[in-house]
Symmetry: C2
Subunit: 233 residues, 2 copies
């Protein structure tokens, strides 16, 4: 156990960063959860998180959590909300800054960190009981991603490198929890000209091969600067 102590003239809360990493497996939307090894809430499932170090930014802390607790790196992260109810942690006052991100489950092999019994992807329709106020945090994240996907190219960020339009549609449908018309989805998407078609096509599919696209970030940023509102769904 550490022997050093930190003393302040006024009370300071502890600050943690908790991460909500959504994972898309081509079909459904999942979320990465860990099973806690230690008290409090030992053996319960929870969002991965860590106390913020003295000299790291909140976002760096989120990156560190993901690296250490899930073997995940290079993820586009976005700050979700800060949860600060005085009694949300039984040990002491803990304020938690939540970050969320979205990845393809296939891109990472989850490896449980030192303080975890297990780590795995859970379908967002089958979430177990969670430690602390993590269910509420997760619910906030689901609401946010559902709202956000309507007018921001989420999923483009994640669909790193290349993707087909039907794949992107699958993601939209998984997040929104409803089906969309193929033809209209494609039409609207292409009309905003934020996709660049690649010469490649899908290989070895038992039907017409879909063309690969990539996100045209430059074009997107021009549109954003012009204040153009992209309503995708």
């Amino acid at each position: 156990m550490k022997e050093q102590f930190y003393t302040y003239q006024y009370p300071h809360p502890a600050v943690t960063v908790d991460c909500i990493i959504f994972g898309f497996d081509g079909q459904n939307l999942k979320v990465m959860l860990i099973q806690r090894k230690s008290e409090p809430f030992a053996k319960m499932w929870a969002l991965p998180g860590a106390f913020v170090d003295e000299r790291e930014s909140l976002e760096s802390c989120a990156e560190r959590v993901l690296q250490k607790e899930g073997n995940i790196s290079d993820v586009y992260l976005e700050q979700l909300f800060t949860f600060g109810s005085p009694s949300r942690d039984p040990r002491e006052r803990v304020i938690s800054v939540a970050y969320m991100g979205l990845v393809k489950t296939a891109d990472f092999e989850l490896i449980a960190g030192n303080d975890e019994l297990q780590i795995k992807w859970w379908d967002i329709s089958e979430i177990p009981e969670l430690a602390f106020d993590h269910f509420q945090i997760l619910q906030t994240a689901i609401d946010r991603i559902r709202g956000k996907i309507r007018y921001q190219p989420i999923g483009f960020e994640l669909m790193n490198a290349k993707f087909t339009i039907p794949q992107l549609q699958q993601l939209y449908e998984a997040i929104l929890g409803k089906t969309l018309d193929r033809r209209n989805f494609r039409k609207k998407l292409l009309s905003m000209q934020i996709l660049k078609q690649l010469p490649e096509k899908q290989q070895n599919v038992a039907h017409k091969a879909a063309s690969y696209y990539e996100f045209d970030r430059e074009r997107y940023e021009v549109l954003m600067k012009e204040g153009i509102y992209l309503e995708l769904v």
Copy 2:
């Protein structure tokens, strides 16, 4: 000076809440700023803020700040963002949770708190140099309110009790920084049926008196529950 000290096994950052209170004077959008009495950044203008007390929620802290530093109460507040760059405060590591709100300037008489030289409304087009990273925080708030007003009935919350449609439009124009068509604004607004017309009209205006309305919160919550997207502008 306090004699008590607070000791922890791990380093704890200080946590503050800073408040961005936008004020509408019927014409333009303002923001409430205080002039600091003490170091660091003595005499500079800044957002009102305070360290979070041990047993208060973040939102309660924001309410306390507004009461103490600006004589403002009963404001609808929304969490904006949490700023946590390790070097944003020269004294020690300070993480700041920002809250924003919107009021009518006429509804409050600003009174400077103990640790302030002055407090006043500044037009958002004439912001002075600000302490800490408060300019960045304010900019984030302006972006947020501009984005938010498009699809959420901000300003209804604030237009406490009653308001006329042209008054509400003035607010929208002040926030968005552009003019809107009177007839279409009214049409769209009324079509979503979140306003209740009152029997009263304006008094003593040198032209046709506008009718007063109030926000129909119940109806609004029904729409939200149904997931209906209100695009107001």
